[in-house]
Amino acid sequence: MKKIEAYLRPNCIGDVINSLHEIGIEGISLTEIKGYGQQKGHVEHYRGAEYTINLLPKIKIELFIKDTQVSSAIKAITKAAQTGEIGDGKIFISPVEEGIRIRTGETGETVI
């Protein structure tokens, strides 16, 4: 079992969910975050005073998937989220040791 964390542009989330849906991934959790990376903020003015919006709104998605789904999930996300411009975001994969479905108490890869 692996955990995929992807930091994405808010506007592409719909496509990403559709894209994951097509390859059979149905369990997703989304978090509203603020991100900061190579994509630099922009200078704006408020009441004439300058300020930089350098924390941009991003969406983080978390997927717990089977080991065998990892590469297809990465492909699905990349396909839907890539614009080729700075700020597209990143995907990270980490190990997960166990999963439990609360409703049934079952464990292992079937909980996904």
């Binding site: 808010p10 506007n11 719909g14 969910i17 614009t83």
Partner: protein, 497 residues
């Protein structure tokens, strides 16, 4: 008298006279009453009449707050700063357009008590003379420095503001701010005053009684001149602009819930309050006690409109929809605005009830059949019901006021005919002019913001700050969309941020 006035110079003199006459329109010598003492002496009732109109006028201006709330509440958070600013600046720009140009065109043919507005461009037809446009009062110069005219201006500027702000609901979330201001100025200076003159400025529609059509075209407080004009311009603007990105997925409309429904409800309540100023103040005199009937009819039509829409929605989609209930109330108010002084209460109930149903059906029709994206229902609320109210007057006027009698009260088809001619004229003239204007703006300075700005939200690109910088906003379009609807159009745009 001097021999300088010989034939040789007559041409030059004529020219100079003409210029002088034009100048004189904005300078002294009319018998004005700038501090009102002469007016008061002539009519001691003017004190009570004037404060009545002034207070009602202030309430009409206050409506912008309600419109701002309804429009912003029923659209999305990422554009909220922009929607608010549109509703605020329409007041500033519209007010100035009216001051410099519009008021003169609209009312430059109406007499005040002193220092009258009396320049009306007319045309002769069917053996009668018909008013087309006023030509006095631009910039409220010295020749009209008179309390009665200032009062008229003040009361009317709020009506203008209302008409101009209506299309902002239909254009919300995608219109260029600068283009919006240009539209505001032109519509406030020329389009609104044109029809306004015909109805309220002594123009030809109000004169239809000359050829036997009832008492001429009647619109007590502006179902046509204000609301239907605004709604028709809204229609034209929404057509030219096209739907918001993500509104139609495979041709099916997607619900885009407003970001603060409570704000929309509060705005509706505020509008109810102001509407009593709008309609009752249109007696233009405290001594015309008919405003009591106006108030009750306004109240009833709003109540029934809201009830009807709410019940309709329960049947059509299962639940009492908040924003459509608000729309229903507003629709009832819009519809009763023209006939409010002329009809009995049961007719007000009927008119409001039909308005409440009409608005629901019209919202559905515009969205699903015409595929026009009108985010807050401006076309259906103000356009459709403005026309409905205009016509309803021709049906239900009971003859107890101003001798205006509708079809059902023995008035025959005269008054109804006048109303229909007015409604038709409005649709044709206002739609054509505004469609032309928007197309022109689209071709020249552009109507629509870039797809990127639209998707990110207009607030930062246009005004440099989001409306709610500290609140965590769900920035993804898709949070609440139709299943298949995760908007694919966006894929194509591949916009940044």
């Amino acid at each position: 008298m001097s021999n300088y006035f010989n034939n040789r110079h007559i041409g030059s003199w004529l020219l100079i006279s003409l210029i002088l006459v034009l100048l004189i329109t904005s300078t002294a010598f009319a018998a004005n009453d700038p501090n009102g003492s002469a007016t008061l002496k002539q009519d001691p009732n003017s004190a009570v009449n004037y404060i009545w109109v002034l207070i009602c006028g202030a309430m009409v201006i206050f409506m912008m707050t309600g419109f701002a709330m309804v429009e912003t509440g029923f659209t999305r958070a990422r554009h909220a700063n922009n929607t608010m600013m549109m509703n605020l600046m329409v007041w500033a720009v519209g007010g100035l357009a009216f001051y410099f140009i519009g008021f003169g065109l609209m009312f430059g043919g109406v007499g005040g008590m002193f220092g009258s507005l009396d320049k009306l461009l007319t045309i002769k037809m069917f053996g009668h003379s018909w008013g087309l446009l006023g030509a006095k009062g631009f910039g409220l110069g010295n020749s009209v420095y008179d309390v009665s005219i200032f009062l008229l201006f003040f009361f009317q500027v709020g009506f203008l503001d209302t008409a101009l702000t209506i299309p902002s609901g239909a254009m919300a979330e995608r219109i260029k701010f600068s283009t919006y201001l240009v539209y505001t100025f032109i519509a406030g200076a020329f389009i609104y005053p044109l029809f306004g003159n015909w109805v309220w400025g002594g123009g030809w529609l109000s004169q239809l009684g000359q050829i036997g059509l009832g008492q001429g075209f009647k619109d007590f407080a502006g179902s046509s001149a204000v609301h239907a004009v605004g709604g028709t311009m809204a229609l034209a603007s929404a057509i030219v602009l096209g739907p918001r990105i993500g509104k139609y997925i495979k041709g099916k409309p997607v619900a885009i819930p407003g970001h603060d429904l409570g704000m929309g409800v509060l705005g509706t309540m505020l509008l109810i309050f102001c509407w009593f100023g709008f309609n009752c103040g249109s007696t233009f005199a405290a001594t015309d006690l008919r405003f009591t009937v106006v108030a009750v009819n306004t109240l009833l039509a709003g109540c029934v409109g809201g009830m009807a829409a709410m019940i309709y929605m329960c049947f059509s989609s299962g639940k009492p929809d908040t924003s459509m209930s608000c729309n229903g109330i507003l629709a009832g108010l819009v519809a009763i605005t023209a006939p409010c002084a002329y009809v009995p209460t049961w007719a007000a109930v009927l008119i409001g009830g039909i308005a409440g149903i009409l608005v629901c059906y019209s919202v559905y029709f515009v969205e699903n059949r015409l595929k026009i994206d009108d985010p807050v229902g401006a076309v259906s609320v103000h356009g459709v019901n403005g026309l409905w109210g205009t016509i309803a007057l021709g049906l239900f006027a009971d003859g107890t006021y101003g001798n205006v009698k509708g079809l059902f009260f023995g008035g025959g088809f005269g008054q109804l005919g006048a109303q229909l001619i007015g409604a038709l004229t409005l649709i044709i003239v206002i739609f054509s002019l505004s469609y032309l204007l928007f197309k022109l703006l689209d071709r020249t300075i552009g109507m629509r913001v870039s797809a990127e700005e639209e998707l990110t939200g207009l607030d930062v690109p246009v005004h440099g700050a989001v409306c709610y910088p500290e609140f965590s906003i769900s920035s993804s379009l898709s949070i609440t969309t139709n299943n298949t609807t995760i908007p694919n159009s966006i894929t194509i745009e591949k916009s940044k941020n």
